[in-house]
Amino acid sequence: MKLAYFLGCTIPARANSYDAAARQVAKRLDIELVPIEGATCCPPVSIRSLDFKSWLTIAARNLALVERMGLDVVALCNGCYGTLKDANHILRTNEKLRHEINSTLEKLGLKVEGVKEVKQFTEVLCSDYAKSKLLEKMTKKLDGLKVAVHYGCHLLRPSKIVEFDNPEMPRKIDELVELTGAKSIDYQEKLKCCGAPVLAVNERVALELTKQKLLSAKKAGAHCIVTTCPFCGIQFDLFQLKVEDLIKESIELPMLFLPQLIGLSLGIEPQALGLELHRVPWDSIQELIH
């Protein structure tokens, strides 16, 4: 399988461990990730908040670059995924907007029709192809590990555009996590936002949401929280330290990106998965990996 790889800007700037783990896992699944020459920021909802046309045109340019490659595109970040998926939907369904955007792209020598499919890396991991291959190659059992799965809003909603899983009761990542022998636990705030999208506007509100998520997962007995988005990941890892300062209480709940958890079950060295780079140490779960 060959996919155009949309890296975005937050992962290389703030979550390289996610990129490292995804590439390691992709290699073992015989998935080739091809870089997109000239790609830029997706751009995120914060730009959509300021100006819809600016957001749509830049997203359309990224999609036009992918179209030229003749491949489906896969994003690692839920933010990039949400943007590309939604923009692709708009461009394919709204002729007037597509025409207008193309008149701008024309000046850059590009044209957009809309790509066949925009995928999130998690969708690839949850496919039957990947699951059967993973089962073949898993060498470590993660029995006894209790995982709080966090899907991230833009992997689930708006569901009529995303179409990944049931938006009120998703199961796909939980099932994938349980292939490793780990248990996906239920926790009250499972579907709630991590707080990251509010960070640039009001840090205190963002931290409040992060606090609710972390404490809820911890209370339900989770050993770690697993996510598929760099924004959510940073919120649960780096900002966990700020939440601890705020509530004057330690939480110490390690955050793992989904490919890191899968990577561990495949027997990939923790260092190659970038686990040492996280701010909340993952030591507490090491002994649960046999």
């Binding site: 830029t40 920021c41 914060s46 908040s49 100006d51 701008t104 909603r157 640039a200 190659a272």
Partner: protein, 182 residues
């Protein structure tokens, strides 16, 4: 209790309402579903940031329909929206509330209301073609992880696009209004 100081709410005067505001929102792609709202409050019931809001999401929608333009554009609610789309998902009338909020923020930005943090992100995008900036430290980190160097974003293409769509002037305008305040 009976002696407590009463704070009188400002009455809404029909003469102060902007009856065209709802149409201004409804004619945009993002705001096109707003007129379907029947005020059930489901959006507010599920909103993850509700406790931090000065006005609840369904109130914002109602205020747009009434024409309380200034109050809506000055409300912190529209900017605290996490764009989590839970309200879109649950609205029985198919109102895309998160998208309506994008439309409202776009209009607020045209009226020079832009939170500092978002302006910074837009400036990064204009300058680098990226909202998050990589430093040497991260480049080194990528090397240690055996990751390939990140191809440079085509920031020139981004600048051309944003000059055409006007985002460059939109955030400049804010600069001017800030200076005028000083």
């Amino acid at each position: 209790m009976s002696d407590r100081e009463i704070e009188f709410k400002k009455p809404i005067r029909t003469a102060d309402l902007d009856s065209q505001f709802k149409n201004e929102v409804a004619k945009t792609y993002e705001g096109r579903t707003i007129l379907y709202c029947y005020q059930c409050g489901t959006c507010s019931a599920g909103c993850p940031v509700l406790n931090a809001l000065d006005l609840m999401p369904h109130q914002i929608i109602r205020m747009v329909l009434l024409g309380l333009k200034q109050e809506v554009l000055e409300s912190s609610t529209i900017w605290l929206c996490a764009s989590c789309y839970l309200c879109n998902e649950r609205c029985p009338q198919g109102v895309e509330i998160s998208n309506v909020f994008f439309a409202l923020k776009n209009i607020a930005a045209q009226h020079h209301i832009i939170p500092k943090g978002l302006k910074q992100l837009a400036e990064n995008l204009l300058r680098l073609g990226a909202t998050a900036e990589m430093t040497e430290f991260q480049e080194e980190e990528r090397g240690d992880l055996g990751l390939p160097a990140v191809p440079k974003a085509d920031s020139q293409a981004i600048q051309e696009i944003l000059c055409r769509t006007g985002l460059d002037k939109l955030i400049e305008k804010k600069n001017q209004s800030q200076e005028e305040e000083k």
